[in-house]
């Protein structure tokens, strides 16, 4: 490596300029919070050899070892900008060549690592107002770009030659044979041939290459009949052109040939555009993480380090507008974040001290201090990305079947084309070649092969934008057959956090006093019950400071010592002697049955008890609040004709209360995991098709047993979840949405299969009978593929979903 010092000292400590911390107010940020804010940044990350691997590669020019780097230029939109950037770089010491592309906003830079540093060059560009960014996956993007260009170039050659060949063929269409003088006839034929050569030799190459690749592997692929068709037509027409009296006969089919190639390429181009768009949205998802972050050093200053050097436990400062690089815990007072990644909705969410933020979500306001808990693949974000990758490469059984029968089928196609040619040769030799070619093209099952995966992927993509992840594409089919929905209670129909319902207090004690007493205990713990109490107690506690030490916050009070007893509660050693306890009846040395009798506790809800020096002081009755959207979702499911069941491991009283609120009649309470499995199996034996809705953590076996499973909320690690669908937002209404989308998917899939199958079935006899010229077969094939994909694309928008904010979409695009 060129710069050994950098390897030892990767993130040279540079304190970020102060103005960055204060950049912009909240209002300004919400509009454009997806981009970096300033250009006077530090570019040391560009010099990190570990990072450079992503966007640079070594080249050798005239014996000099150079680096070629592809970087993204931010803020460049016009050709004039191009010149500014170019002149900022050209002529610098160490810069060998520079090429700026305005359209792609990329700069290709050849530089000498012995003479300069990339960061120095980036700083020069930064002074002109633009920003050089390392392009993650720059090389793969570059590769894709080159492919698209080549395909477009092939398409254009085919299109233009086709038009011109058509012109030269026109005289043949309007005249009787022999009407044109032979010398002009020959001239037109030669011109036709001239322009057909590029179409066959250049534009048709992808078909030949792919057919040849298949042939070498001993297979017959889809491009085989097409290639044979192109070659046969071209050879026969060429023979007819140069030897009109020879064995190839007199007819030429250059017009059919070129048009047919043009249509096929056109279909292919549109397909690749569509595929790039999906790949693009996946890229946009993956590129959410920042390239670099600010890590706190021991002396409380900050250094800029690359993401790859980040470790668990690092403390970072994340500026407003930046994404969190890993799952992290908030260390500051609070942070306002945008978790559209998980919920599909861009709205500010507040995370308090101690709460966690997820990688890939954006910090909206102020700079946030966080401690990294997870990085890379372990983060929620990493799991989403790998899940998306996995699902999109999964092949549904139908496609596997198509792959298997394709070989024999294509042999059949070749044979029937041969038969058609032989048959027509005896009737009218002039028709043999075009009919054989038409059969070859018409039978190609391209549309059939596309119909299923295109619909399922489009649908999964639409759901993913909404925060619903599809783990198994085939689950769409199963979901349409469902007639019973079984809910697990905890965390699905009820909120996954509890709220304080009421406080029962000792005579002589006020509710507020009890809460104030509980505050120092509850605020020290992260247990859900403690949090519920703390939320209620916090405003009271800050209004009336603790009498023993008026100045400071209760938690930080040095004299009182709070101890957490895992599983039972908290104990506070009072500075002035004595003990306060908050937790279970056992911890407080109370008899729960006795309390019940006295009306100091309730049976149908979880309770926490508070006691002081004088014994029992208060009972905090918790409520597992029914989710706000649960009643509507359950009602809607019933309206759609589903039987709704409630299956829970909780106490009967609590379960029934929830069921009553929601109007669910079939209830099983107190069920162990084994019992749950039995219940589901029994329902299935009665013929029920079950969709199980759980939190994805405790219901693994049941989720696997049901025909379709949903995991709600983001409690469980995605990779361990057994469910087919993961609803990250936890909104129950998404369930209904998913069912609707599955039904639409199946409907469109059936339309696709019908169309593609019907097309192939009707075209083959017509082609053999001689009613379909090759160009029409080519057009039909391209159009039917396009129709199938276009139909599938209808699924990429959910009905009743707000149209995505175009400005946000554009902003997301501009980051890429």
């Amino acid at each position: 490596m060129s710069n050994p010092t950098l390897i030892e000292q990767p993130g040279i400590a540079v304190v970020a300029p102060e103005q960055r911390a204060q950049a912009g107010g909240l209002a300004g940020l919400l509009g454009q919070h997806r981009g970096p804010l300033t250009v006077d940044d530090d570019f040391v990350v560009l010099d990190d050899p570990l990072e450079q691997e992503d966007f640079s590669h070594a080249i050798e020019v005239d014996g000099r070892a150079l680096q070629e780097s592809i970087l993204m230029v931010q803020g460049m939109y016009c050709p004039a900008c191009t010149e500014t950037v170019e002149s900022a770089l050209a002529g610098r010491k160490g810069v060998v060549s520079v090429q700026v592309h305005a359209a792609t906003r990329r700069v290709t830079l050849r530089w000498d690592p012995a003479q300069t540093l990339l960061s120095a060059l980036a700083r020069d560009v930064g002074q002109t107002g633009y920003r050089l960014l390392p392009m993650r996956q720059a090389l793969s993007v570059e590769h894709r770009l080159a492919e698209t260009r080549l395909l477009m170039w092939r398409l254009f050659v085919a299109a233009f030659c086709t038009m011109q060949v058509m012109m030269y063929s026109w005289p043949f269409y309007i005249t009787e044979p022999g009407e044109i003088e032979p010398v002009y006839d020959q001239l037109l034929r030669m011109a036709n041939w001239m322009l057909s050569v590029p179409v066959v030799m250049f534009s048709s190459m992808p078909f030949f290459q792919s057919a040849w690749r298949d042939l070498k592997l001993g297979r017959i692929g889809m491009d085989m009949p097409v290639s044979v068709g192109i070659l046969v037509t071209f050879i026969a027409s060429t023979g007819a052109t140069f030897d009109p009296t020879g064995v190839w006969g007199h007819e030429i089919w250059f017009d059919s040939l070129t048009m047919f190639v043009f249509f096929l390429l056109g279909g292919r181009y549109l397909q690749s555009r569509l595929r790039d768009r999906t790949a693009g949205s996946l890229d946009a998802l993956m590129n959410r993480l920042p390239e670099q972050c600010e890590r706190q050093l021991a002396d409380a200053s900050f250094e800029i380090v690359s993401l790859k050097r980040l470790r668990v436990g690092d403390v970072l400062r994340v500026q407003a507008g930046q994404a969190f690089p890993g799952d992290a815990t908030v260390l500051g007072e609070s942070a306002t974040v945008d978790e559209a990644l998980l919920t599909g909705e861009s709205q500010p969410v507040t995370r308090l001290r101690g709460q966690s933020v997820v990688a890939g979500s954006y910090n909206l306001a102020g700079s946030a201090l966080v401690r990294i808990d997870k990085i890379g693949r372990d983060t929620r974000f990493g799991q989403i990305v790998s899940l998306m990758e996995q699902a999109s490469t999964e092949k549904p059984d139908l496609v596997k079947l198509a792959d298997r029968i394709a070989g024999p089928f294509l042999i059949l196609v070749l044979l029937s084309a041969g038969f058609g040619a032989w048959y027509w040769w005896q009737i009218d030799p002039a028709l043999a070649v075009p009919i054989a070619v038409a059969v070859l093209v018409a039978t190609c099952p391209c549309a059939l092969a596309l119909s299923t995966p295109s619909a399922m992927l489009a649908s999964a993509g639409a759901l993913a934008q909404r925060g619903i992840l599809v783990r198994r594409l085939l689950a769409f089919e199963a979901l349409c057959k469902i007639d019973t929905v079984v809910f697990d209670k905890t965390g699905t129909l009820t909120q996954d956090r509890v709220v304080l319902r009421e406080v029962i207090v000792r005579p002589g004690l006020e509710r507020e006093q009890a809460l104030r007493m509980a505050w120092p205990l509850a605020s020290a713990s992260l247990h859900p019950v403690s949090r519920a109490i703390a939320v209620q107690a916090q405003p009271l506690a800050s209004n009336a400071p603790n009498p023993s030490d008026p100045g400071s916050a209760p938690v930080a009070e040095p004299v009182d010592l709070v101890q957490e007893r895992p599983g039972s509660g908290l104990v506070l050693e009072r500075a002035g002697g004595g003990q306060w306890r908050l937790g279970s009846a056992d911890l407080c040395e109370l008899d729960e049955a006795h309390l019940l009798e006295q009306g100091r506790s309730v049976a149908d809800a979880p309770c926490a008890f508070l006691c002081d020096e004088h014994g029992w002081a208060a009972t905090f009755v918790m409520d597992e609040g029914v989710r706000a959207d649960a009643p509507a979702a359950v009602a809607e499911l019933r309206e759609m004709g589903f039987a709704v069941h409630l299956l829970s491991g909780d106490r009967l009283g609590a379960v029934q209360r929830v069921a009553q609120q929601l109007g669910i009649e079939q209830v099983v309470a107190g069920a162990s995991p084994e019992r749950k499995l039995e219940v589901v199996a029994a329902l299935q034996q009665q013929g029920a098709q079950i969709a199980m809705v759980g939190d994805g953590m405790n219901d693994g076996p049941v989720l696997a047993r049901a025909q379709v499973s949903f995991a709600l909320g983001h409690g469980a690690p995605l990779t361990q979840s057994q469910s087919d669908f993961v609803v990250q937002s936890g909104r129950l209404s998404e369930l209904v949405q998913t069912v609707r989308q599955a039904r639409r998917t199946l409907r469109i899939l059936k339309q696709n299969l019908c169309w593609a199958g019907g097309y192939n079935a009707s075209m083959v006899p017509l082609a053999i009978a001689g009613y379909v010229p090759p160009w029409l077969a080519g057009l039909g094939m391209a159009l039917s593929s396009f129709l199938v994909i276009g139909n599938a694309m209808r699924l990429s928008r959910l009905p009743g979903m707000p149209v995505p904010d175009p400005a946000a979409a554009a902003a997301a695009l501009s980051v890429r």
Binding site: A103, T104, A809
Partner: protein
């Protein structure tokens, strides 16, 4: 009619010339992102 001997080869040359122009435009990145100009109006910067 003899002019065809000139005009037809000329038209072939013309086609090739037009294709060369397109090649130049394509490989200078003019068609790399067709949607970008339409999106630009939505951007602030």
């Amino acid at each position: 009619m003899e002019s065809l001997f000139l005009l037809i080869p000329l038209s072939v040359v013309l086609v090739l010339a037009i294709m060369a122009v397109f090649w130049w435009a394509l490989y200078n990145g003019q068609y790399d992102n067709i949607e970008r100009e339409g999106e630009r109006i939505l951007k602030d910067d």
